[in-house]
Amino acid sequence: MQITVTVNGSEHTLDVEPRELLVHMIREDLRLTGTHIGCDTSGCGACTVLVDGQPVKSCTMFGVQADGRSITTVEGMMTDGALSPIQAAFKEEHGLQCGYCTPGMMLVGSALIEQNDDPSDEDVRWAISGNVCRCTGYMNIVKAIQAAAAATRDAAVPASA
């Protein structure tokens, strides 16, 4: 089946088998391997991407369902070669160890900050509760998302004349 999908700002026309999962389309057809697979049953969140700005576990969608939609993966988080605030914060706050859950965590975090630029501990923990991390114990992930929120707030304040 032919579909047209925008991925990280670029439009792609793809011929996709109807049963192919979105995560496989992203990883194998588009070769964007920053989106990971951890469980096959939507239990871990390693495959999270943004579909029209909303976090979606990409193993829960077929590729064909992405027709006409806009997808953001970890590879699309940088702007003009610069790290996004959340990418920088994950490094700064030691919010990752093996790195496998990290793309999903950062994308969920960035979607949260879009909705709420000053999230509490509980807000962040609830937002990422569908994403499993086996290494960090979450505390530094929470700190990283809050630090990114703070950086985003600071950036939004108009510079004084």
Binding site: E17, R19, E20, R27, L32, T33, G34, T35, H36, I37, G38, C39, D40, T41, G43, C44, A46, T73, V74, E75, M77, M78, L83, Q87, A88, F90, K91, E92, H94, L96, Q97, C98, G99, Y100, C101, T102, P103, M106, D121, V124, R125, W126, I128, S129, G130, N131, V132, C133, R134, C135, T136, G137, Y138, M139, N140, I141, V142
Partner: protein, 785 residues
């Protein structure tokens, strides 16, 4: 603790991790991210039965699917003498079944196809005829008369018993129990859990039939050991085998063993002349790869009425699954469990253990734990708390009364370990102060009066890590020593090659800091290479908290070796005698004339451009480290919980963790390791368990049945530290990766049991689900009614 400047950032600096730059950009290179030209995909058919005779395997329908290149069966593997392989414990394990299946999920056949979806489709078309046999799912029934013999193919094996092992002095221990004024007993089962790294296991085998070169990209924590095992299994020349571990998405012990999928993919690549990729799905990972624990423990402690500990005895039954595949030192059948005397001056101890085959998955690995130290720590810390209750003492006071005193190190334990260093009371006092122990105890009383049940749990663990000295520690005869190679380039940048393999621990940063500390080159100028057997020195890999104790030591020692030569070159450049050269990182200066200086970078350049006559050019070295002893990290964890007795739900209110892992190389990374271990320890205490029904069906084959802690359940942690350096380690470090998983389960459980003291509950086996906690309260109430 920092000794180097903020510019050099050696030991004690929280340097941001070098590896993060690729991970935060989605540029990690994990096994499933790799593609090779002409690569085929493999999927495995697994047994639905736990124990069944294999009558026939019909592959015709599968082979007829367009895109299927080959179907591999046990019969085909047997033709190449590859149907069986050795395990890490010197047992054998079926690669693909030829006679009978021995656990649910065992590998029966494999399909190689042009596409992973096609391979999966074809697996479903393989027809297998089985005759189910009687099933054994625990060591008690494995030992029973008339139990079906699981390993009937082994010559001389007439029952399910694998080994009997003892440690300590039985007579002295028996005497202690005769003399005892109080004996405290505990029967507890440490359940089967699974390390479940977020990335499953997998490989790409690439065998060139023309040259015989076999390159296997693999999620391995121990690539060098795997290479040797492959040479032994396949009879391939070892120099033609290259194991490459790319970025690994967590290991926790799960990625130490050799799994049948690796062997089948390699054989298939050899036969087909194409690279073959095999990536497990999560269910395959949970039902067939290295589990942990599954350990039935009986412990008894002999005490005097004043609380003095006299002796400890334990009897243990290990459920090893269908093949004895523990990854642990050959000499020690239940790992280092005999550290069970823990942090206490116990004059006598005796450990008896027996291992049994059952119809369950093999691969007893230590889930974030150094060879059953977790089980040992859990047993002693649970026993101590119950002893305190029976004596009417505060559990903190009973511990303090019996701690090995600070001035008694090096201390020889009743089971023969020589503890290197410790200050147990110091760590405990810090933890008690941080959590406000005395105040909490008072509040606990007040809360009970209001019908609220608070509990305070302690664990004062001592680990034993860093295996190990060649005299006692080997796997399959391979000594557990590790290497490092350091090469400094003309521009003063360096490459460090290590035998360890990071799975998230941050080796690319930490090990660069050790070099920075020793020779003054900044961490960002040192590339750390690891995971590729062609390009790194031999060693047994990263597990059991051994990287820092062994490879970290090798890194310090090779740096010192290189520095010796650097000093000679510096003397040459400074035109003075070598004895007149002083080194204050990064400068070599002349004694008494500090204005005359050359940097390590100047020396590196001179090593290739301007070195003394008669000296070899270059600035490099290698070192293989044989640790003189193990290291003994320790700490005290203190947990406060509230239990809702109406529902059995318990919540962690506070979790204080004071760790002493000796010198901390990168405090940020150390704390990250502790956070992770405390979380996995919480998971084990609260929810993680792989269970089986009576037919051997695995319950826990996905993340909705095998529960992992999410951000929502995971407690907040408050960390503290004390620093007692290891006296025998070159930089005084002890290793920390597993302390928190070893120490914390007992602390969580002790807290819940403490909360339930008004009901007289003395034990609940992990995981402490709300249902089990509720049931324990009901049972205790019924017993006293």
């Amino acid at each position: 603790m920092a000794q180097t400047t903020d510019e050099i950032r050696g030991i004690g600096h929280s340097v941001k991790r070098k590896e993060d730059d690729r991970f935060i950009r989605g540029r990690g290179n994990y096994i499933d991210d790799m593609q090779l030209p002409g690569m085929l995909h493999m999927a495995i058919l697994r047994s639905p039965y736990a124990h069944a005779t294999l009558n026939s395997v019909d592959t015709s329908a599968a082979a007829a699917v367009p895109g299927v290149i080959a179907v591999v069966t046990g019969e085909l593997m047997a033709q190449h003498n590859l149907a069986w392989m050795p395990t890490m414990s010197g047992d054998t394990e079926a690669v693909l079944v030829t006679d009978k299946v021995r656990f649910q999920g065992q590998e029966v056949a494999a399909v190689i196809a042009t596409d992973p979806y096609i391979a999966r489709d074809a697996v479903d078309l393989i027809q297998v005829d089985y005759d189910p046999l009687g099933v054994v799912v625990d060591p008690q029934s494995a030992a029973a008369d008339g139990a079906p013999v699981i390993r009937d193919e082994k010559e001389g094996q007439t029952d399910n018993h694998i080994y009997h092992w003892e440690s300590g002095d039985k007579d002295a221990t028996d005497k202690a129990f005769t003399d005892a004024e109080l004996v405290v007993k505990l029967d507890t089962f440490y359940p089967r859990s699974h390390p479940s790294p977020l990335e499953t296991c997998g490989c790409i085998a690439d065998v060139d039939p023309a040259t015989g070169q076999a390159t296997i990209y693999m999620t391995s924590q121990a690539p060098h050991a795997i290479r040797t095992v492959f040479a032994l299994v396949a009879g391939l020349p070892e120099e033609n085998i290259r194991i490459v571990s790319p970025d690994i998405g967590g290991g926790f012990g799960n990625k130490v063993p050799v799994y049948p999928g690796y062997v089948v993919a390699t054989a298939a690549s050899l036969l087909l002349g194409h690279p073959v990729k095999w990536i497990e799905d999560r269910s395959e990972n949970l039902i067939s790869t290295g589990f942990a624990r599954d350990f039935h423990m009986h412990g008894e402690m002999a005490l005097k009425r004043d609380g003095t500990m006299l002796g400890l005895r334990t009897s243990l039954q290990a459920d090893e699954g269908a093949f004895h595949a523990d990854a642990q030192p050959s000499k020690f059948k239940v790992g280092l469990f005999h550290i069970v005397t823990g942090s206490y001056e116990l004059p006598s101890a005796h450990v008896v253990a027996d291992g049994y085959y059952t119809n369950k998955a093999p691969g007893g690995v230590a889930y974030r734990c150094s060879f059953r130290v977790t089980e040992a720590s859990y047993l002693i810390e649970r026993l101590v708390q119950n002893a305190a209750y029976e004596l009417g003492m505060d559990p903190a006071d009973l511990r303090k009364k019996n701690f090995i005193p600070e001035d008694a190190f090096p201390y020889e334990s009743a089971t023969g370990f020589i503890y290197d260093s410790g200050n147990y009371e110091g760590a405990m006092n810090k933890a008690l102060e941080m959590i406000g122990y005395d105040q909490l105890r008072r509040e606990q009383e007040e809360m009970r009066a209001q019908g609220k049940y608070w509990g305070i749990g302690l664990a004062s663990f001592t680990e034993v890590v860093g295996a190990g000295p060649h005299k006692d520690y080997d796997i399959l005869g391979l000594k557990m020593n590790d290497g490092a190679e350091l090469r400094i380039h003309p521009t003063g940048k360096a490459i460090l090659k290590i035998s360890a393999k990071t799975q998230g621990q941050g080796h690319e940063t930490t090990f660069a800091q050790i070099v920075a500390e020793e020779i003054g080159i900044q961490p960002e100028d040192i590339k750390v290479q690891h995971g590729d057997t062609d390009n790194t020195p031999y060693g047994l890999g990263t597990y059991a908290s051994r990287s820092t104790p062994t490879v970290g030591a090798a890194t310090a020692m090779v740096s010192r070796r290189v520095l010796e030569k650097a000093r000679k070159i510096a003397a040459h450049l400074l035109e003075v005698d070598e004895d007149d050269v002083e080194f204050t990182r990064p400068n070599f200066t002349v004694k008494g004339a500090p204005e005359k200086a050359v940097t390590i970078q100047d020396v590196a350049f001179a090593a290739y451009t301007n070195f003394p006559d008669g000296m070899e050019s270059g600035l490099e070295g290698s070192y293989y480290y044989d640790p003189p002893n193990l290291t003994f990290p320790f700490g005290t964890y203190a947990v406060a919980v509230e239990v809702d007795i109406e529902t059995g739900v318990w919540k962690v209110q506070r979790m204080v963790a004071v760790d002493d892992c000796g010198v901390r190389i990168n405090p940020m990374i150390v704390e990250g390791q502790i956070h992770g271990g405390l979380t996995e320890g919480y998971g084990i205490a609260a929810m993680e368990q792989i269970t089986f029904d009576e037919n051997g069906n695995c319950i826990g084959a996905n993340f909705t049945d095998y529960l992992l802690p999410t951000s929502w359940e995971t407690p907040m942690f408050e960390l503290g530290e004390t620093v007692t350096p290891s006296p025998h380690h070159p930089i005084g470090a002890k290793g920390v990766g597993e302390s928190a998983t070893v120490g914390s389960p007992a602390a969580y459980v002790n807290a819940v049991i403490d909360a339930l003291q008004p009901f007289g509950v003395t034990n609940i086996d992990m995981p402490l689900t709300s249902a089990k906690v509720w049931q324990a309260i009901q049972d205790a109430q019924a017993a006293t009614a």
